[in-house]
């Protein structure tokens, strides 16, 4: 691996204020449940019990991060055209941590048409499309499933727009597992260009047959709870999650959390295997630091992509070791939530923000035997430390990478 990358051409960005931020995952709804689970080392993973009516034999023998209560959650009548497991989770996530109030406040200050919705997902509402195919009537969708705006990737963006009253540009980003990290970058550009004054970003992905049996077909799913960066790791655990953050231009007197930088890249290597030298990952981290205008040694916490597949973790650890000093505290939190795919960016950004806000840096749950191939930056034990900057890595199929830097004003 070359020891130095070419210098970044990314221009330093003006930081954006994060007025509100929330994540709902298998450990519970909202940021407090997430912080508490991180503190207690309590995993949200359970034996696969997903799929109503399925027999145990029909289910994959694996562990999942499932969000409770979605089956019985009822959307308001006006939102029923968009009803799906994924949009129900979006609705649940929007109800946490003052997110609705923050959105209403932004609409009041800027006008609904000056607020954008930019949300990420990998499979959107495809779970509803799968259900429709199990109940076809004469080869056609039964009436209860015949809702066109659910069976398309933009189901999520449109639902969030309908559910919030936001009327500005509305986009669904779908770059697999980097989706809800890239939304921060796209929002930063849109606000910078003056097309919006604020942006609701985030992402939602839910468990469905496509991802469970799809990742299984690639032999990437572990039969046990995932063990990121452990020498004996043997695959990922899938999870579902949703989360949001409200971004706007930072003011001089701000004291809160900020998005300071983003970096994006492509591996240009393979659809479902990472670049062997982690070159794409390194470019994304390099550009995120450059846009934030900071050096690598200023980062106090890095939430790793850390899926617990044999290939991802050793390559990511080597990429991190090539850029950061040994003192960096880096960890994967997939042992709490599972790999939440298109929602991983927002969930793990929220964890990075919790680390910034409270000085509680999570370890790597479920892992006990360090892989000698992974550097000293990867930590299994939690730590308390007052930090200035925190970073999040999210990498996806197609070799699609995104790194984000967060800070405190």
């Amino acid at each position: 691996m070359p020891s130095t990358l070419p210098p970044s051409t990314a221009r330093r960005m003006a930081p954006l204020a994060i007025r509100a931020c929330t994540a709902t995952s298998a450990v519970g709804p909202g940021r407090e449940a997430l912080a508490q689970a991180l503190r207690d080392g309590r995993s949200g993973l359970r034996r696969n019990d997903f799929g109503e009516g399925a027999t145990d034999a029909a289910r994959l023998d694996c562990w999942i991060g499932r969000v409770d209560g979605l089956e019985t959650l009822e959307l308001p009548a006006s939102l029923m055209p968009w009803d799906s497991r994924n949009n129900r989770l979006a609705w649940l996530a929007l109800a946490q941590d003052g997110m609705r109030e923050a959105i209403e406040d932004a609409i009041a200050r800027f006008g609904a048409e000056r607020v954008a919705v930019i949300v990420g997902t990998s499979t959107s509402s495809i779970g509803s499309t799968e259900q429709a195919y199990t109940a076809l009537e004469d080869g056609e969708f039964a009436e209860e499933f015949a809702r066109p705006h659910v069976h398309t990737p933009h189901s999520l963006g449109e639902f969030v727009q309908q559910a919030t009253g936001i009327r500005g540009p509305c986009i669904t980003v779908a770059t697999a597992c980097s989706s809800s990290a890239k939304v921060f970058a796209q929002a930063a550009r849109m606000i910078d260009a003056g097309l919006a004054d604020a942006a609701l970003v985030g992402g939602v992905d839910t468990l469905c047959g496509s991802v469970l049996f799809g990742f299984n077909s690639l032999q990437l799913v572990s039969g046990e709870p995932c063990r990121p960066f452990d020498a004996s790791r043997n695959g990922l655990s899938l999870g579902e999650a949703g989360g949001f953050a409200l971004l706007e231009r930072a003011n001089g007197g701000d004291t809160g959390l900020q998005l300071c930088g983003y970096g994006e890249s492509s591996d240009a290597h393979h659809m479902s295997s990472p670049h062997p030298e982690g070159l794409g990952a390194r470019l994304a981290m390099r550009d995120a630091l450059a846009r934030a205008g900071i050096d690598a040694d200023e980062v106090g916490y890095l939430n790793l992509h850390g899926t617990a597949t044999p290939a991802n973790d050793s390559i990511e650890a080597a990429a991190v070791a090539s850029l950061f000093p040994d003192a960096l505290h880096a960890s994967s939190t997939k042992g709490w939530t599972g790999h939440t795919l298109g929602a991983a960016g927002i969930v793990e950004s929220t964890i990075a923000l919790i680390a910034l806000e409270r000085g509680e840096l999570p370890g790597t749950l479920g892992s006990s035997t360090p892989d000698p191939a992974c550097g000293p930056q990867v930590r299994f034990a939690p730590q308390r430390a007052d930090i200035r900057y925190a970073m999040n890595n999210s990498f996806g199929f197609g070799g699609n990478n995104c790194s984000l830097v967060f800070g405190r004003a």
């Binding site: 051409t9 990314a10 221009r11 960005m13 029909a58 609904a112 048409e113 990998s122 495809i126 499309t129 799968e130 195919y133 199990t134 056609e140 015949a146 066109p148 069976h151 398309t152 990737p153 933009h154 963006g157 009327r167 500005g168 540009p169 509305c170 986009i171 669904t172 980003v173 779908a174 770059t175 697999a176 890239k182 796209q186 930063a188 550009r189 849109m190 910078d192 260009a193 097309l195 496509s210 049996f213 799809g214 990742f215 299984n216 077909s217 690639l218 994006e264 492509s266 591996d267 240009a268 290597h269 393979h270 659809m271 479902s272 470019l283 996806g396 199929f397 197609g398 070799g399 699609n400």
Partner: protein
């Protein structure tokens, strides 16, 4: 409302019967069509065996993207890219759902990784060796306008040039009634801050009701889900003019092209 601008350095276009920007432009201006148009794009970027097997939407995206880069005389690997598609590859969505309903453990790993919305972006970056960022978005009828906005804001931020690729394919299976889209349609633009070519200005304006587009290309491929981009390509064929593109609940994107 601020206006974004770019130079249009290169254009790529493909639909059945009009398999290049040159033939599409000829059709838009004079109504003539080639008689020997291929039924499927054959992107040279893919090895011959993959060229036949690749999903149609991947094939058309790669075809128009490469054509736009060639027209712009830009090295593809040097460009960040934005891929916009309303539905992605509907034949794969149909395959996934049909297989899951009958024999989920038989799901093909290749079909699964090709099912991601950023499949075309992935094949493009792999085929060209582009390590630049690639985005993949959907915004229903606003997919093209929002893809164009994302490309223009990348230029406004810190990119010198950017590739925009928009495409949709043929509907498939029982999903067809929910996600209708006919044929195969793709368009691509290489946009730059300071390059050669016509100038494009774009700004958000209040949404209006859209009468059916009357341009030759807009009528030719009106049943494809990416048809909302066609009024701009009709303007590009003339070399100047104004197109109004749906951009969401409250907005249209007003795009002015001047030589």
């Amino acid at each position: 409302m601020s206006s974004l601008q770019a130079r249009i350095e290169g254009i790529g276009f493909w639909t059945r019967g009009l398999p290049s920007w040159a033939t599409a432009r000829e059709y838009a201006l004079n109504g003539t069509q080639p008689t020997d148009a291929p039924t499927r794009p054959s992107p040279q970027l893919l090895p011959a065996n993959e060229r036949r097997r690749a999903p149609e939407t991947v094939a058309i995206a790669l075809e128009v993207a490469m054509a736009a880069c060639e027209a712009a005389a830009r090295e593809p690997a040097s460009l960040p890219s934005v891929f916009a598609s309303t539905h992605g590859e509907l034949s794969i969505t149909d395959y996934m759902c049909a297989t899951l309903a009958t024999d989920p453990r038989a799901l093909s790993p290749t079909k699964f990784h090709n099912s991601v919305h950023n499949a075309a972006a992935g094949y493009w970056t792999i085929g060209t060796g582009a390590m630049q960022p690639a985005n993949a978005i959907s915004a229903y009828t606003a997919s093209f306008a929002q893809g164009l906005i994302e490309a223009l804001t990348q230029l406004h931020a810190d990119s010198d040039a950017v590739l925009l690729v928009a495409y949709d394919g043929q509907h498939a299976g029982p999903l067809a009634a929910m996600a209708p889209s006919e044929g195969l349609l793709g368009g691509a633009l290489v946009l730059s801050r300071h390059g050669a070519g016509p100038t494009l200005h774009a700004r958000l304006v209040p949404a209006s009701t859209h009468p059916a587009a009357t341009g030759a290309l807009a009528r030719y491929a009106s049943a494809n889900a990416m048809a909302p981009m066609l009024p701009l390509f009709d303007v590009l064929a003339r070399g100047e003019g104004t197109a109004v593109l749906p951009a969401g609940a409250a907005h249209d994107l007003l795009v002015e092209v001047s030589p």
